[in-house]
Symmetry: C2
Subunit: 207 residues, 2 copies
């Protein structure tokens, strides 16, 4: 993303910073952030415990950075999906497919977000909430542009956008829990059906 030339030193620093983030993400697959120890992370990252402070004030701080990493780069993708051309059935298939691929590509990130969204660390919850609010706002902005949205109040558009965002997250989390290929197929089917039902409600909203 941002490639300011970057001296050798800063490059190394960002490398170990990334090592810390990766190590933490790995450890967080089977515990939550509030129980993640600083020493535990540095051990997994292969550095001395005290070096941790060169990068983060605390594990909560690291958590906020992880939120950025997991959700920060997702905004263009969201907008592209909702704004997609095609009839509603095609859009649904595309959205579900996109979630599927994202979960398979970054399972640990998705798990982290689902877990810490309601987790025990306030700043992290706040960071996730802020990012999701941005998503909702973007989805809403995309919805406005549809002809079907004529006559919709701002509040109604927002509640629909929230419904979509929550549904998206719900589906992603269900994908994580699905172990077999059949289970994942079922999650896809159900998610598509639910999106279809919401779409129907949307078309008939203004009686």
């Amino acid at each position: 993303m941002s490639h300011t030339p970057l001296g050798l030193r800063q490059a190394q620093k960002q490398k170990t910073r990334q090592a810390l983030l990766d190590a933490a993400l790995g450890l967080l697959e089977e515990q939550s952030l509030s129980s993640l120890g600083l020493r535990e992370v540095t051990r997994a990252a292969g550095i001395a415990p005290t070096a941790f402070y060169r990068h983060f004030h605390s594990t909560a701080d690291l958590g906020v950075a992880l939120v950025e990493e997991a959700l920060g780069s997702l905004h263009p993708m969201i907008r592209a999906t909702v704004v997609d051309p095609g009839d509603s059935e095609e859009r649904i298939a595309r959205a579900v497919g996109l979630i599927t691929r994202h979960v398979q590509a970054y399972p640990a990130h998705v798990r982290f977000i689902a877990r810490e969204r309601h987790g025990g660390v306030q700043p992290v919850r706040a960071a996730i909430g802020a990012q999701l609010a941005r998503f909702t706002e973007e989805v809403k902005a995309a919805l406005v542009e549809y002809p079907e949205s004529a006559g919709w109040s701002d509040e109604d558009l927002l509640m629909l956008a929230e419904l979509y965002v929550d549904q998206m997250l719900m589906t992603a989390s269900l994908f994580l829990e699905a172990s077999s290929e059949e289970a994942r197929e079922r999650v896809s089917q159900v998610a598509a059906r639910q999106l279809r039902l919401i779409g129907i409600g949307r078309r008939h909203w203004l009686t």
Copy 2:
């Protein structure tokens, strides 16, 4: 619930057991189960650390017991709500009101469930999942009895029930985060709208 006569001794035991559960629930307001220490709990409950083992194998075990306490007694209520008489608008108001009151009466329980549903302790996640699956099944069973459900496939009924259950939990969690009375009012409004939209989709599901 179950009042087998119960000697003095077992009564005292259940009393300290409850003290442990209450203490844990209190501590879990600002952390997650995976970081909850056994000593921490016993300290808050006012008993010696080792006495913990008389009641639970581990904190994960205690977590499972908390799931039972939080969700076990909720089944009759669920069924009564969904099966409620009245037109759909009345039912929506009743459902939202019921969630509101439940969250205000047992905020810590609701927070615990929302937090640990995707939390870092597998057995607890499993216990919550099982209870929610029961809820879903009950909602589905209630839906079948509506005349509007004629012609619905089993899978469609299940996906609708899942949508309702997830929505219910989502709303409950939003209530917790809402600090002011206005914020709570807004959550109510949005939840009602979303249920309305889902209801519309439901009525027009079979083309």
